[in-house]
Symmetry: none
DNA sequence: TATGAATGAGAATTCATTCAT
DNA sequence: CATGAATGAATTCTCATTCAT
């Protein structure tokens, strides 16, 4: 088997799997359900993917690539590290907003799945986190961020704050806060603190 | 079946399940493995729990009760909201540190599991989050936190920051930063921002 | 283990088992349910019975003994073979009527259960059938029944007719015909035929 | 799952189940044994049947349809109600004779099983019984059967007589009476009685 | 390539029976 | 005798994966 990523069917299966995994979760999702959603035969899936696990990983990489490219494009336009962080927050939350299925899988099924996290070196996700770390380092070099901030801690704290907010959106039906407000609040805490 | 929560076996099974779920994840974990770990027969598990799902939920509630009580005890001793937040961060990370298995399950299997999150109203977790929200509100009333902070966003952002940090610890074998530093850093971002 | 048939508990268990087997059938019935009904512990049942199978067989023999004795008492009072057959029919249907649970078990679970029928020589039932055969033979000797009637066929035909009627009663909630009418009809067919 | 009743495998499984159920009874029969007998994998059975219960019910309906059609064909050729009853008896016993397995299941497992009898409306069996009832009514209309015969009782009595006879054959290894004699005797009792 | 019927390993759960108290 | 917690063998059913067509 060689992956035929250009094939129309490959993408149809990825799309179907995204929908089914998001709805049911990875383990409870059935190959036959993905096949039905993709309008192919069960066996056809195994022409494009090695296993059920492989669908999840492929799905993740496929999506993360896009997310990463998009984020880099947004960030690189800006100069000010503080503005960059704010833009990161907004872009991240918009992305979640527009792709609930993908967001849920990334959060719930893959990023959290100990099974995959432990044996699958999640390169894309590390790069995504590092975008934040790089902004922090850049800010420190430019003297706009405090020197004693630890980028390795800060990148996780910032991402975690956004992520928890997203989870709340993904899992709750209605959303209480609008995206721009939430993005501004969260980046605000980081940049200026909450102390009066 | 009546739950015999006082029974020594009940706790032995909870403990075994915690270990096995943490190691393998909920779905891949086998009842027989939990039974073996708990040194009981497979069937014995069904004297104390209704189903595999029930083990996970019981485990979670059992642990969260302790966590919640512990956190309340730590926080209530302090007066200053800023100090409370810092204490919250430290206590949370210490807890994670001391109970990696429990932490992993709460994060990975239960809090994140779409299956459970959607049909299981996670009261304990909501209360835990609200502890942060209450500190924020208290700080605002006392005039030490900015008035325009939204407690509903802030509690998630703060918890998410800690949680992402914990995840990093839980999933990575070695730990790069010591707990007190990390806790101080993270609560510091919130309180005073990272801007120089 | 020696059977303690005089014990009050022995009879309580038999009675409980009769109720439970009648309601659920032999295989679906649970020992724990019989124990609960009999208000004894599960383990106690095994003091009085060797196994679940043993309960069914004991139950059957216990009940059949009574049924047989009762029938013999009724029949032996009469002289005329034709009257005896009529009395048999009436007594049989009355018995069914008054002991639906026992009737159902005898019909459904034991007499029909190939498992038991094949390895368990059902002496009591054979004797019961033979009561009919003996009446037929007696009638032939007395010259009141046709000589070419085959007692072995006739006893089964007569019993079967009654039995099918009983099954209808046991399994249907309401009863369309009164017992005396049905008994008279059925014995009437045998004795005088249905031809005008 | 869609039932593929035309499939060769569907019939192979029905046939295998008939054999296994007849030999062991419904509850003691194992799916794996049926699968082995049918020379398919265990899982294959679940492509054609929903559950073990479904096999029994399907088996029954499949067989009863044939039995019913066959009986109607035999009966409808005749004019005289008395002859029809005699033919019914003969055909029924022949059928039993030729299909011991099916007969045993119908009698022992399905017709008698409280589990199935109570929740499964046994249409085919009711129709079969009604064939007898209709003959009786027809005979009464034509004036060849007594007016005071109750068809609802008579049909059960007649069927029961045949059925008990069959059971004797099914459950005993050797048969003492030949079919035609037995059929004639039994229909004879009904038609002309046994009184000299 | 595409199909979907067939496979069979695997897993949760049940429950008759035992035995230490 | 009585108990009922503990056992673990046994069984149905599921579903990822294969492969002949």
């Amino acid at each position: 088997m060689r992956k035929r990523k250009n094939s129309e069917k490959y993408h149809r299966i990825i799309k179907a799997a995204t929908k089914v995994f998001a709805k049911k979760g990875f383990y409870p999702a059935k190959i036959s359900e993905i096949a039905k959603e993709a309008q192919v035969a069960d066996g056809t899936i195994y022409i494009y993917f090695e296993s059920k696990d492989d669908i999840l990983i492929s799905l993740f990489e496929e999506q993360m690539k896009t997310v990463l490219e998009n984020m880099v494009a947004q960030i690189s336009k800006l100069k000010d590290p503080a503005e960059k962080l704010e833009k990161f927050a907004l872009t991240h939350l918009q992305l979640i907003e527009q792709n609930k299925d993908i967001a849920e899988i990334i959060q719930v099924e893959l990023r959290q799945s100990s099974k995959f996290m432990k044996e699958y070196k999640n390169e894309q996700f590390i790069q995504y986190l590092d975008l934040i770390g790089d902004i922090v380092k850049e800010g420190q070099k430019k003297g706009v961020f405090k020197k004693d901030i630890m980028p390795g801690v800060a990148k996780r704290a910032f991402f975690g704050a956004l992520d928890e907010m997203s989870r709340f959106w993904v899992l709750s039906s209605r959303k209480r806060y609008d995206i721009e407000t939430a993005a501004k609040q969260i980046s605000g805490y980081f940049l200026k603190g909450i102390t009066a």
